[in-house]
């Protein structure tokens, strides 16, 4: 079982002495983090800046030592093992290429440290440079390269050492959009080709969704959810995940159990806008309302239909969620149109994304007019309002490896 795990974090915490001269407060940057990464996986750690993801990365590479908890690599405990004794290499945020060495020597650096024979170094470095189409650049100095080329040098400088785990610390952040998309494709291709475990740290949710096999979403030093891009997007485990990955409409309130005459069960959230429902089954709701009274209903903008008239009276409309609001903003995206409805005195407007071939043509919607936003209970997700409760609930579902994780 364990040998399929490239990396295993068990309740890992890291705290620093607070960075101020007066107080002796402790700053908890990573808070009892548990996660498991399979061999050959493209695993992303996604979170806003300051969420502890870079510290997590540095603990994997060995540049930081955890304050408590256990880190295992291929089953071996590596807490406190010096970076050069682990088979982990990093692609740094701003590449950190050596400006005094040429491309070849940059890539060869790790092999030289390992005292690999010079002919082997030559062969391996050239093979890597060929892989990223930089074989003619071997003699160039780093500052003569473009951003994308530097990025590729940084990538192969790490990969030439054949790491068990390759860490990528926001490696695409410094590139412009087009180059970034190009590099994304290249990254995935290289990862599949080599079968190396990639741990990719980013704050860009789009990037994480596109590239990853699985994503861990971090907030304030804790993991809020681990799952495939689809799981994370379709079934966010917490309000934070719902808001951070994509756009979400969130309605907070008290949750209640409900069933209709046909025998279907729902979780209803009593909000200031009335009752909003979600289907009661695993995936949409992961808990019984009696256990978690304070909860939120989440619905993605593209699941919402916009109507001029109330849906009540239509067949099967009894369980539909429906709220009414004033159209305050309309943004045309081409294939879709995003509209914002201001509902009563709610601070955040409801966001809906309408495909432009839908029956109600978005351009005909008028600003200032009132419309109904309607969605199916099956498209609603219920999550606990408290992130910690959400994380505890998420644990058994999203750790399919069935190991020692405690829920």
């Amino acid at each position: 079982m364990t040998e399929t795990l490239a990396l295993d974090f068990e309740n890992v915490s890291k705290s620093f002495a607070a960075n101020s001269d007066k107080s002796s407060a402790i700053n908890v940057v990573v808070d009892s983090l548990s996660m498991q990464v399979r061999k050959g996986e493209f695993f992303s750690v996604l979170g806003p800046s300051g969420c502890g993801k870079t510290t997590t990365l540095r603990m994997i590479s060995g540049l930081e030592t955890p304050t408590s908890g256990t880190i295992r690599m291929s089953g071996r405990v590596v807490n406190g093992v010096h970076p050069h004794k682990r088979n982990v290499h990093t692609v740094f945020q701003k590449y950190a290429l050596f400006p005094h060495l040429n491309v070849f020597e940059n890539v060869a650096f790790g092999l030289r440290m390992k005292k690999v024979s010079s002919e082997q170094i030559k062969r391996r470095v050239n093979r890597m440079l060929e892989m990223v189409r930089l074989e003619t650049y071997a003699d160039r100095m780093i500052q003569q390269l473009s951003g994308g080329e530097q990025q590729r040098v940084a990538l192969v400088r790490a990969l030439v050492n054949e790491p068990e785990i390759l860490l990528l610390d926001e490696p695409l952040g410094a590139l412009d959009l087009k180059l970034r998309e190009q590099m994304q494709v290249e990254l995935v291709a290289i990862q599949k080709q080599l079968g190396t475990t990639f741990i990719f740290v980013t704050h860009d949710q789009g990037e994480a969704l596109t590239l990853s096999d699985r994503i861990a979403i971090m907030n304030r030093g804790r993991i809020e959810q681990i799952g495939t891009p689809t799981e994370v997007y379709e079934h966010p485990a917490s309000i934070f995940v719902a808001k951070f990955v994509g756009t979400s409409n969130v309605f907070e309130g008290t949750s209640e159990f409900e069933s209709n005459s046909q025998g279907a069960s729902f979780v209803a959230i009593q909000t200031s806008l009335g009752r909003l429902r979600a289907k009661f089954h695993n995936g949409n709701t992961r808990f019984h309302p009696r256990d978690v009274p304070s909860a939120a209903l989440i619905v993605r903008p593209e699941k919402i239909r916009v109507r001029v008239t109330s849906p009540s009276g239509e067949s099967g409309s009894a369980d539909l969620n429906s709220v009414r609001g004033t159209l305050v903003e309309r943004t045309y995206f081409g294939p879709t149109t995003q509209i914002k409805l201001k509902i009563n005195d709610q601070a955040a407007p409801l966001i809906a994304l309408i495909a432009n071939q839908a029956s109600v043509k978005a351009p005909t919607l008028k600003l200032g007019e009132k419309y109904y936003a309607v969605w199916d209970p099956g498209d609603s997700i219920i999550v606990p309002s408290d992130a910690r409760v959400a994380a505890a609930l998420d644990a058994p579902i999203s750790q399919p490896l069935g190991s020692t994780a405690t829920a």
């Binding site: 701003k94 005094h100 650096f109």
Partner: protein, 294 residues
């Protein structure tokens, strides 16, 4: 009809570079106070010494022949050695300090920087005297060591080569620290993380990354120390005792005591040439490793 092809039209109004006006003050300064005096010294070195320190305007190369006599050659070599080990010791002491300064928080950095610069607020001669009060025969250090019964007789730390070395390092250290600090401060320390990440030990990271990247600072600092240290005469005078003779002392004596200006000039020219050679070697090496700069 129109024969002027685009290529024949000069792109810039004139290929001749204009002399920038703002260089005039410094150029004048250099000409009057550096280049002309050196030229005077150089011409003096080719003249003949008359009686009572007068100068006879006859061409005479014997001054140079005399400068190469073993007595003087030995002193020049001794001075070279003094400058070399002063530079080496300063580098050894200054590097960790400059590194610490570059990596410390702004506040700590300011304090450290002040500590390096503060001695300059005191006159040079007074500072050397202060050092004498500490390491002298009845100085503070000897008193403490005697009180603690570590030694029975005072250690001889002045009026010998040791005293000269102490004075030299003490005085020239800041000239090494500051350029090193400037070079290290600009350095991207994630490069060290990258080196560790690629399997380098601390020592390897230092010699393969930090050291080559701080080379510009090392070179500047070394020149700042080496060149003045080579001609230094006050410190040997004050801390070296009567036996201590370095090229700087010889030159001052030749000029002021024996009033032999032509010979003094020959020795000075020698010094200038040696400094220039050292400088050229360093510069050419710098140019070869152009890529190392960023």
């Amino acid at each position: 009809m129109n024969h002027a092809t685009p290529a024949s039209v000069p792109l810039s109004p004139s290929p001749k570079k204009k002399f920038p006006l703002m260089l005039v003050p410094s150029a004048l300064w250099f000409a009057i106070f550096l280049i002309i005096p050196i030229l005077i010294v150089m011409s003096l070195s080719l003249l003949h010494k008359g009686s009572y320190g007068r100068i006879e305007f006859t061409l005479d190369f014997s001054n140079y022949a005399r400068a190469l006599e073993p007595v003087y050659l030995k002193i020049i070599l001794r001075s070279l050695w003094l400058a070399t080990y002063t530079t080496g010791l300063c580098l050894l002491l200054a590097y960790p300090l400059a590194y610490l300064m570059a990596r410390s928080r702004p506040r700590t950095r300011k304090i450290l920087l002040a500590l390096v610069v503060v001695p300059f607020w005191t006159n040079f001669v007074i500072r050397i005297h202060a050092l004498k009060l500490i390491i002298g025969e009845t100085g503070l250090l000897n008193q403490i060591l005697t009180e603690l019964s570590i030694i029975t007789r005072p250690l001889q730390m002045t009026d010998n080569a040791f005293g000269v070395g102490m004075g030299m390092v003490y005085n020239y250290l800041p000239f090494m620290v500051l350029p090193l600090f400037v070079a290290l401060e600009k350095l991207d320390f994630t490069l060290l993380d990258a080196a560790y990440d690629l399997g380098a030990s601390r020592l390897q990271s230092f010699f393969r990354v930090l050291f080559p990247l701080s080379m510009p600072g090392i070179v500047t600092g070394s020149l700042f120390v080496f060149i003045p240290a080579f001609g230094e005469f006050v410190i040997p005078d004050m801390l070296g005792g009567s036996q201590s003779m370095y090229v700087g002392n010889i030159i001052t004596e030749t000029f002021l005591k024996s009033r032999d200006w032509p010979f003094g000039s020959a020795l000075s020219t020698f010094l200038v040439l040696l400094a220039m050679v050292a400088f050229m070697i360093v510069l050419s090496r710098e140019n070869k490793t152009q890529g190392a700069k960023f």
